[in-house]
Amino acid sequence: MKRIYMDHSATTPVDSLVVDAMLPYFTDKFGNASSLHSFGQEAAQALEQSRQQVANSIGAKPEEIIFTSGGTESDNLAIKGVAYRNSRKGKHIITSTIEHPAVLSTCAYLEKEGFEVTYVAVDSDGIIDTEELEKSIRDDTILISVMHANNEIGTIQPISDISKFAKERGIYLHTDAVQSLGKIAVNVDELGVDLLSISSHKIHGPKGVGALYVRKGTPLQTLAHGGGHERHMRAGTENISGIVGFAKAVALADERIVDDAKHMRHLRDLLINKVMNSIDNAYLVGHPTKRLPNNVNIRFSFIEGESMLLFLDMKGIAISTGSACSSKSLEPSHVLTAIGLKPEDSHGSLRITLGKDNLQEEIDYVAKALVEIVGHLRAMSPIAGKNPSLR
């Protein structure tokens, strides 16, 4: 069976050029970057070249990049790192209601540790209320953490606006750019952020690698203690093959971003139009234009996401849903709740996230499959009414 992968916000296949770049670092140039001999120096060189590559891509200096094990670790390090190191200045943190669990769980943990966190609301499109955010700033606010683009609904946040009042008030600003990297421009100065999280496996790099950008002069508490790796900010033998792969993925994304984004945007709009035109009671979730070029999030009334997902999977199509039934917590997506969707509406949401290699014919196939599956499930639904509304 043909398999169509449209869940690129969950993870992406590693580009074969990335694998090629990594391979020598497994068996051949396998040294430990801390070793003084030639094997080690080879590794150290690869590490620093990779750091340069990643730094260049986001407009940073190499010494502002800390390699981590992924986006989650980067988020943890940014938020706890700033919180612990600046707790004498204040213990108040501001974030949004639609952050990734890596940010929200970290904030919840800090609340238990005596920090106070304000969760700023978003509007029905998922855009943060910057006025509310500004009003929530206090004298003891030390950190604002707002994601660049949302992983479920693709909404892009006005980070550079937020940066203005963060700067005025001398508050550190962190953004989770895990989903935006490689899809839209990510530049630390244009965004005006002090900390920025990115992850390799979302941009066709290997899993288990990420980075945190830390603007020079931002005081940060180390979380991983050990050897003096990453300028004492993150201990652990550096994952050279992974880091080289990440850097290659970043380089490829930089080269291709204009073409890829255009391609994905085209497919995205095609899919949205097709679905909207062929299925009644289907609604686009998230902002119509301020959204990632690869994000489609649509909800279908009367039916539930997991069963759609399973039927699509049987047709070889991989997507994701905000339905509670598909989550370990059995709660509907906190993002969909935050934008004001009622639980019964959240249950029927599908997230379709495109990749650079998706094809127009795949869009046609998926749209067709959706018509069929939505029809089938609505026919089975006790709430669809007598008139399962298929145009």
């Binding site: 539930e304 996401g305 997991e306 399973l310 509670a324 249950h347 026919a379 089975m380 639904s381 006790p382």
Partner: protein, 125 residues
């Protein structure tokens, strides 16, 4: 995630639909929770001659709905009342732990339909 038998019942559900002149209808769950089932029964001489369902919900919800119709058809009302949630899950060869509660409403739906049937009988009397 789901075993083959669950996937079979999910993808080829048995006895989907409404029974226009049902003798009893059970409604359980609600859309807010993500699972809602309507179970329709036909009863003749104390035996369930037909059972149909309509379900809004996840894979487990649909599969258990389908399974309960298969189990119930041909059973006496008394026998049907003894079917537990666990029986349904077992008959399906097991459900993921996380699905054991919320989505496994089918037995409740059947019992509600039987209650509805009995209430209607009482009214007729």
């Amino acid at each position: 995630m789901y075993n083959e038998k669950v996937m079979d019942h999910f993808s080829n559900p048995r006895n989907v639909g409404e029974i226009e002149d049902a003798d009893g209808i059970g409604e359980v769950g609600n859309p807010t929770c993500g699972d809602m089932m309507n179970i329709y029964i036909k009863v003749k001489d104390g035996i369930l001659t037909d059972v149909k369902f309509k379900t809004f919900g996840c894979g487990a919800a649909i599969a258990t709905s389908s399974m309960i119709t298969e189990i119930a058809i041909g059973k006496t009302i008394e026998e049907a009342l003894e079917i537990t949630r666990n029986d349904v899950a077992e008959e399906l060869g097991g459900l993921p732990q996380v699905k054991m509660h919320c989505s496994n409403l089918a037995a409740d739906g059947l019992h509600a339909a039987i209650e509805d049937y009995r209430n209607k009988q009482n009214i007729k009397k």
